[in-house]
Amino acid sequence: MTVISVKNLTISYNKKPAIKGINLEVGEGSIIGILGPNGAGKSTLIKGILGLLPSETGEIRIFEKPVKEVLKRIAYIPQKEQFDWDFPINVSEVVMMGRYPYISLFGRPDENDHLIVKEVLEKVEMADNQFTQIRNLSGGQQQRIFLARALAQESDIYLLDEPFVGVDAKTEKAIFELIKELKEKNKTILIVHHDLSKVKEYFDKVILINQTLVAFGDTDIAFTSELINKAYGGRLTILQKAEQLFKN
């Protein structure tokens, strides 16, 4: 079943196209990496899928319906800079927002919602910090509470924008384990990622993008040095290339 279908998507900022004519068909139960150099339009693509940015051309359908109708089935984890970390809010309140789609207009979270929040906090090992204000968390912990919020939302699609930035190796591994669990439950996960070294280990498929779509397909096929070079416009440094060789 096609989960996300993107047809000829073009999005511009101030008349300069950020992404141009993107076509994608994404099925369920896979982890997909969105890769490309800085400014290639990786975050723009995700925001475009969500309908957060006005598109110039193109059509996006999710579960064969217009995005607006199925938004609640999508969980989105934006980049960390988006948030005001001084906001007077604690960990469990942030995670509870994931339950809001299930609560009526004037309703309050019920026992079940609290139970789910507790469960997902235990899952990301943040139960001890549930009353901590978010400024007082480490980078890895900050990332984990937004993952917890996405889990609490019990969505079918997960869009993650650079979830591993500022995260220690241990947390990265823990986060990735949870993402793999989601995949086993047949969820679709799209991850904007900048570190090329773990691509083969992490992703079933990759989307290589540099304004236009360079390649999309199974990691073995789409993540070749030729295509990577094409996406990065030869901007891959010697060091990165050497790292590539070493890791493969």
């Binding site: 957060l52 609640k72 999508i74 989105y76 988006q82 604690n90 927002m97």
Partner: protein, 424 residues
């Protein structure tokens, strides 16, 4: 004494206009405290100020149409407020003018229009200064009923729409995804804001009302990091400032808006200076204490190393160079440490006492184990580990140090080859 307090606080209450003023002040405290919290968190302070000023022409036009009654005031103010907020975003969205400039143009324009209309007004007499600067002692019964209705409406809205206000303030994208219209919530908040401005018009006036919208919430923000507590504290500071301001206005004939706002600012200053978590006084003393503790430990360690290597340098000069502190600071630190019984001696020739040596041993042990740990685990390279260890040795607990020693398998020497002292 009791008599003076009675005269100051209770006696005025026998007058009906004071009773009315008191209730009006409390209403301002509640409505502005609640709405102001969201205005501050959403960084809309400037828009709040703009709306307050543009309420003036609305009020005057309301009076021109249907005479001087609270309903025309309410309708005029509300229309002006909402229209202004729509105009500001319209100009911003449809030109390359940024929001702050757009706000500046529209609110001064609206305010000027208000003043122009007042000066031309013949049929209705409006006391301009009471709208500009507030006249809490002149609050009428109908003003009071209106501000009470407004306050109750705001209170109920904030309770009912708690979720929507929270999620749109903290994470508008999330709000969009779960189907909450951020612009609907924004304009609803602008409506509530215009209403709270109307409620505060009589007591504080349009020029200073913004202070009641942001100063009490900002004070509360410094004291808590919970939204619900912030709302409650903000209301409390709002009420207390209004009431205190009212008394000063009555006894000393101050303009009521000014005395209310100055009281609120004094509370803010107190929180800014003395807040247990954020206060700068607290921060200053914490920093000073840390520096003193660190300096003591550094000096003890130096003396320990000197004894270990049995070197005979000038302690004051060397410490002064090592720690880049002037010699007189080192000397006074040495005296202070001596008075604690950790070292004894004089001038350049200080020796550790038994207690001092124990403490130094502990520090050196902590420093060297930590360094060893960082190198073993490949956390930083050799050039930097010394500096890193210097930072951490002051804060590592005994338990953690023992745990590190355990994990490293009780090493004898640190990466520089110096012996690691055993726990005493």
């Amino acid at each position: 004494m009791a008599d003076t307090i009675y005269k100051f606080l209770v006696e005025p209450l026998q007058y009906e206009f004071i009773q009315r003023a008191l209730v009006a002040s409390i209403m301002v405290g509640i409505s502005c405290g609640l709405i102001g919290t969201y205005i501050m968190l959403r960084r809309l302070s400037l828009i709040g100020d703009a709306l307050a000023h543009s309420v003036l022409p609305g009020v005057v036009i309301g009076f021109m149409i249907s005479g001087k009654n609270p309903l025309s005031l309410f309708a005029g103010a509300l229309t002006a407020g909402i229209l202004t907020s729509i105009l500001i975003s319209y100009v911003e969205r449809n030109s390359k003018i940024k929001e702050d400039t757009s706000i500046g143009i529209i609110f001064t324009g609206a305010f000027a229009l208000g003043i122009l209309l007042v000066s031309q007004l013949k049929q209705v007499h409006i006391d301009l200064s009471s709208y500009l600067f507030g006249d809490v002692l002149g609050v009428s019964d109908s003003d009071l009923i209106m501000s009470s209705v407004i306050t109750v409406f705001i209170l109920i809205s904030v309770i009912l729409f708690y979720k929507q206000l929270l999620v749109t303030s903290f994470d508008p994208t999330m709000a969009y995804i779960i189907g909450i219209s951020t612009s609907l919530v924004h304009y609803f908040l602008m409506t509530l804001l215009s209403m709270s401005i109307v409620a505060g018009l009589q007591s504080v006036g349009v020029i200073l009302i913004i202070a009641m919208l942001i100063t009490p919430p900002a004070t509360a923000f410094l004291l808590t990091d919970k939204l619900k507590t912030m709302l409650i504290l903000s209301v409390m500071f709002g009420i207390i400032s209004s009431v205190i301001g009212l008394y000063f206005s009555y006894h000393f004939n101050f303009a009521s808006g000014a005395s209310i706002v100055l009281t609120a600012v004094l509370f803010f200053a107190a929180a800014f200076l003395f807040s247990p978590k954020e206060g700068i006084v607290q921060k200053y003393f914490r920093r000073k204490r840390n520096t003193a503790v660190n300096l003591t430990e550094d000096i003890l360690k130096y003396l320990f190393n000197a004894e270990e290597k049995s070197s005979v340098g000038n302690a004051v000069t060397e410490l002064s160079a090592d720690l880049s502190l002037p010699e007189n600071k080192i000397l006074s630190a040495l005296k202070r440490i001596e008075s604690k019984g950790l070292i004894k001696g004089e001038k350049e020739n200080y020796k550790l006492t038994e207690t001092g040596r124990d403490l130094a041993l502990k520090l050196v042990r902590s420093h060297r184990l930590w360094e060893t740990y960082l190198t073993e685990k490949n956390i930083v390279d050799m050039d930097n580990i010394h500096q890193d260890a210097e930072k951490y040795e002051h804060v590592l607990s005994d338990d953690l140090i023992s745990e590190i020693e355990e994990e490293l398998g009780h090493p004898q020497k640190d990466p520089h080859g110096s012996p690691i002292p055993k726990k005493k």
